[in-house]
């Protein structure tokens, strides 16, 4: 197929495409997916330290126990919870007959569930992180 023209020169950049809910939920899904991936990468590395040197492992895991890491964990959970709920929404869009029709309502559902879970989790988690 003759679709290999270099885009940078031939397609002058313009404004950002103003897509709606579907476009932005996809952007968020991809960003959270990549964030989770990099977390897991680091997590596999730090966990495998335990086989190399249990002392080094304890030191690294100990370093996670500070408030900045605590907030980072909150962000990570926020990303995972969104990605998981929205992932279910994407599956329904593809495999439930009425999915494409209700994709927007399902996104509000995802965001509602996400907010509920995050409020509950934040209260518990932050009281651990800052409570002592």
């Amino acid at each position: 197929m003759p679709k290999t023209l270099s885009p940078s020169k031939l397609i002058p950049a313009g404004t950002l495409y103003r897509g709606r809910e579907g476009q932005w939920s996809w952007v968020a899904h991809r960003i959270t997916g990549v964030v989770i991936f990099f977390f897991l990468l680091v997590h596999v590395l730090d966990t495998s330290l335990v086989r190399v040197s249990p002392e080094a492992y304890d030191a690294v895991i100990g370093a996670y126990k500070n408030p900045i890491m605590g907030l980072g964990e909150l962000g990570l959970v926020a990303a995972i919870v969104f990605h998981a709920f929205n992932g279910i929404r994407v599956i329904l869009v593809d495999f439930w007959k009425q999915g494409p029709k209700y994709h927007r309502q399902m996104l509000w559902g995802v965001l509602g569930l996400w907010a509920l879970v995050m409020i509950a989790f934040s209260i518990r988690h932050l009281s651990h992180v800052f409570g002592g």
Partner: protein, 262 residues
């Protein structure tokens, strides 16, 4: 004006107050039209050009482009043919969204701000608003957009029930304007992707009870550049000037590939 009733039916003539024309005065308003220009013969860079225009309440973006081309700058280049939403020539990005210029009324846009007009994304720009549609039509040809039937040609019409006809009714409406394909974030970054329009037109034949090449089309779209590239952003469904449920059609093709049931 006389209000007395007479025996005879009054002549069917509407008497208007003096000074009022046919359908009443059409309101006018001022707009700023900004067009993303590009001319490879003079520069590699695109730039914004802008005009202040007085337009009528009944005018569309296409009328504004005509006014510019006919009265201000004849070098402004764009495609249009029917000017009535039939031929699919004038898909362009209007205020950041793919629309047909001939179906977008100026009064429906925010005229207090400049109206931005850019070429559709993901296809090579040739000049101003004109893009090279060849990659788009290449994908369209690949899904075999014509009836394929086995056996002998029947001597009478090929019968079909209204339910069978209804099955693919939505996807018969496509005018190949490329608004959907060029609104797709996957297509912008992966020009090899078949794109929504090719899938819509495959759907039109896959689900046609008279057609016998459904399996072949499903095989073509089962390619790694086929339906599985779709990330369900719904940009295509929102861009389609014919109101085709594009994402739904793509989902139906995905399911048909998985179940091999049509």
């Amino acid at each position: 004006m006389s209000t007395e009733t007479t025996e005879k039916e009054p002549a069917s003539k509407v008497e208007l107050a003096p000074g009022v024309g046919g359908g009443g005065e059409i309101p006018t308003f001022d707009i700023t039209l900004k067009v993303r220009r590009y001319n490879p013969e003079s520069s590699d860079d695109a730039y914004w050009d802008e005009w202040k225009l007085t337009m009528y309440g009944t005018d569309r973006v296409l009328d504004a482009l005509h006014k510019v081309k006919w009265e201000h700058d004849g070098s402004v280049s764009f495609r249009r043919s029917c000017a009535h939403g039939v031929c699919g020539s004038d898909a362009m990005r209007i205020n950041g969204r793919n629309r047909l210029a001939c179906k977008t009324l100026l009064k429906d846009l925010d005229t207090s701000k400049p109206i931005l007009v850019e070429p559709i994304k993901g296809l090579p720009v040739e000049k101003d608003l004109i893009v090279d549609m060849e990659p788009f039509f290449q994908s369209y040809r690949e899904i075999m957009p014509f009836l394929v039937s086995k056996g002998h040609e029947p001597t009478k019409e090929r019968l079909q029930s209204s339910e069978e006809r209804e099955r693919y009714d939505d996807t018969t409406k496509c005018i190949l304007c490329a608004a959907c394909t060029s609104s797709c974030p996957v297509f912008w970054t992966d020009g090899q992707y078949f794109g929504p329009a090719a899938i819509v037109n495959a759907h039109r034949f896959i689900f046609d009870s008279r057609d016998d090449a459904g399996d072949m089309r499903l095989e073509i779209l089962n390619d790694k550049e086929g339906v599985w590239r779709c990330r369900t952003t719904f940009n295509c469904s929102e861009a389609c000037p014919r109101g085709i449920q594009v994402t739904k059609a793509i989902s139906e093709v995905k399911q048909a590939i998985l179940t091999r049931k049509i």
